[in-house]
Symmetry: C2
Subunit: 110 residues, 2 copies
DNA sequence: TCCATATATCATGAATAATTGATATATTGG
DNA sequence: CCAATATATCAATTATTCATGATATATGGA
């Protein structure tokens, strides 16, 4: 993971449609969602959603699988991990006590 | 934390100078860094760094304190927490087993 | 093979953002 | 109060990004 990949990922997340799409895919977990269903759910046009999913794909934040005529998209948790890890690298070096609340918040009840 | 704040934060992180600056401030923890020292360290001009710090400030990712003639900047861990929490909200809903590696990576050795 | 469905790509115009030189503001020391 | 230092703001140019309409590609069913 380098700075170029990471800025590309954050750029992908800096647009409301893409951020919401990824959040939905994160919630959807292993089930993912069909591109068209996501467009319908979010009430955006087909080509807009396609373009936005393509940006998320290039950024390594989602992956996809063809499923008949449709294409199913999934959050790429590995990609997410890399981006967040790069950002927070050595966060404890200067102030360990600052890190715990952040971790607690990210940490979900699984 | 809403989608507007979050996209603004990610937009702030989508630019190499700002991402690096925040990473340095994250590593610096409670010591933070003076704006000028950060500009020198990163070899960017004074006004460019000032503009970029201002974007990070508006995004709630850093805070600052005047210190004599200088201004000291710090990573805002509370802001970071909010952004990451919003992104990962309900990540376990669909697939709890996917979350742990991500949390492990973020979790530092403090 | 032909048609319908699902998604992707292309071209374009409108809006946003980035860097830079110049200048302004704020603080300190003399 | 004046000069020096540290940072912020302004104006302008250039470069990116976005949504959109139109079109292309790919798959499945008849």
């Amino acid at each position: 993971m380098d700075i170029k990949q990471t800025t590309s990922a954050f750029a992908a997340l800096s647009q409301p449609t893409r951020l919401e799409a990824l959040r939905i895919l994160i919630k959807s977990g292993t089930s993912g969602m069909l591109a068209g269903d996501l467009a319908d759910l979010m009430e955006v046009r087909q080509n807009t959603m396609s373009a936005n999913l393509s940006v998320l794909l290039q950024a390594g934040l989602v992956r996809n699988e063809r499923e008949g005529r449709s294409i199913r998209y999934f959050a790429d948790f590995e990609g997410l991990r890399g981006v967040l890890a790069f950002l927070m690298e050595d966060c404890c070096g200067g102030s360990p006590e600052k890190c715990q609340p952040l971790i607690d918040e990210i940490t979900c009840a699984c």
